[in-house]
């Protein structure tokens, strides 16, 4: 019954919600480690962000038995395991498509570099931008050089930050160049071939959901906001 050191049997079918939380756990462990903690219980971890202790244990249980009963989890140990599970134990190379405001900001975003991602290339079609660099020093290439640069820099992940009307076209290009994982910021429903993972961040949807909340709560403003019932 002991798993023979690799991953657990059911590990193929891990939900996206779980993997997102693993990222969050890792971030918290980095903090705890920096603060000098050697062990942490799921209880304490759960209180930090507003989460349930059983959920944390279940999430981790998908990948092995990392805890020690009566003690909790060894911070450094669990950190290492999470990094390995998330594939952060080697450097991943990232390219950003579109050197507009958003593309340039993402290319220089410190949060990406921090966890071991290397953003090594920006792409654009505007010849005025090609050949220059982002403030942080990421070179801007012409989109026609895509295939070549992606091979050379061994790009693992492409970030799409181009206008909506060219998003699908650009996606097709990076897929053709062999990229298997894409983070999309354009507000479009994009099609990807099987075997390629697409994750979308929709900024407009996020803002509009706040607008929805405000519209609802102004209507029922006489009620105590936040948890009005019936």
């Amino acid at each position: 019954m002991k798993n023979t050191n690799k991953a657990k049997p059911a590990a193929d079918q891990v939900s996206e919600l779980t993997t997102n939380r693993l990222s969050v756990y890792l971030r918290c462990l980095n903090l705890l480690d920096a603060a000098g903690a050697t062990t942490v219980s799921s209880q304490v971890l759960a209180e930090q962000f507003h989460l349930n202790a059983a959920q944390i244990r279940k999430d981790l249980a998908c990948f092995g038995e990392f805890g020690v009963r009566g003690v909790g989890y060894y911070v450094k140990d669990l950190k290492r395991h999470l990094r390995q599970i998330l594939g952060l134990d080697r450097q991943l190379h990232v390219a950003v498509m579109g050197a507009g405001n958003l593309g340039l900001a993402l290319a220089d975003y410190p949060g990406f570099r921090q966890e071991g991602f290397a953003i090594t290339a920006l792409f654009d079609t505007l010849s005025a931008k090609v050949g220059r660099r982002s403030r942080g020093g990421v070179p801007i290439y012409d989109i026609t050089e895509l295939g070549e640069v992606i091979k050379r820099d061994r790009i693992d992940i492409a970030v799409i930050a181009v206008p909506a009307d060219s998003a699908q076209h650009v996606l097709n290009m990076v897929v053709a160049a062999g990229v298997k994982a894409i983070l999309n910021f354009s507000p479009e429903t994009l099609d990807v071939p099987p075997g390629v993972k697409l994750k979308s961040v929709d900024l407009t949807v996020s803002l509009e959901s706040l607008s929805f909340y405000l519209a609802r709560n102004e209507a029922g403003d006489h009620e105590e906001a936040g948890d009005a019932r019936a």
Copy 2:
């Protein structure tokens, strides 16, 4: 049983997943309207983005009966309803906290202006930035002017794009100034008082979930990628 023209009985308890989809529906309807379509069925709408027709009907049913049996939905009509439900029938004022790369990019992001949001203020602590403007013309104020400007510009939504270590502090300030809805881009677990809505976009988590996918699929590369089983 007919709802008396306003919202449906159970409309208070609408899930976030549903409201996010409403945004997406609206975007699609804008496209259809521009393309000259007068009606659309849930079936057709569902095929556009990869979604289920029953789900679209259920989502809409939370707010009323907008469809016509045998016909579908009148595009202009449904569009107007969705705009009203999402609170986009009036202009919402947005302030961006943090005039770094990301804050400046968000302040000028065209997708926000498009659906009727007005980004009217940026805030920062660096005196070198204060008094200047973003490329798109949004003025940068000192954070000490926060309360005053938020009142004057009637800010409805604050976007947090400051470094992680000052995120909670900045959040407290905008809440104290009376803002009831916050879009957070910092990678922190933030606390908000009841009655304030916080929505977080975590860029690092998004990238790391792609990393996880890649790590998994390289391990089992012999298998047909995308839906490998057992």
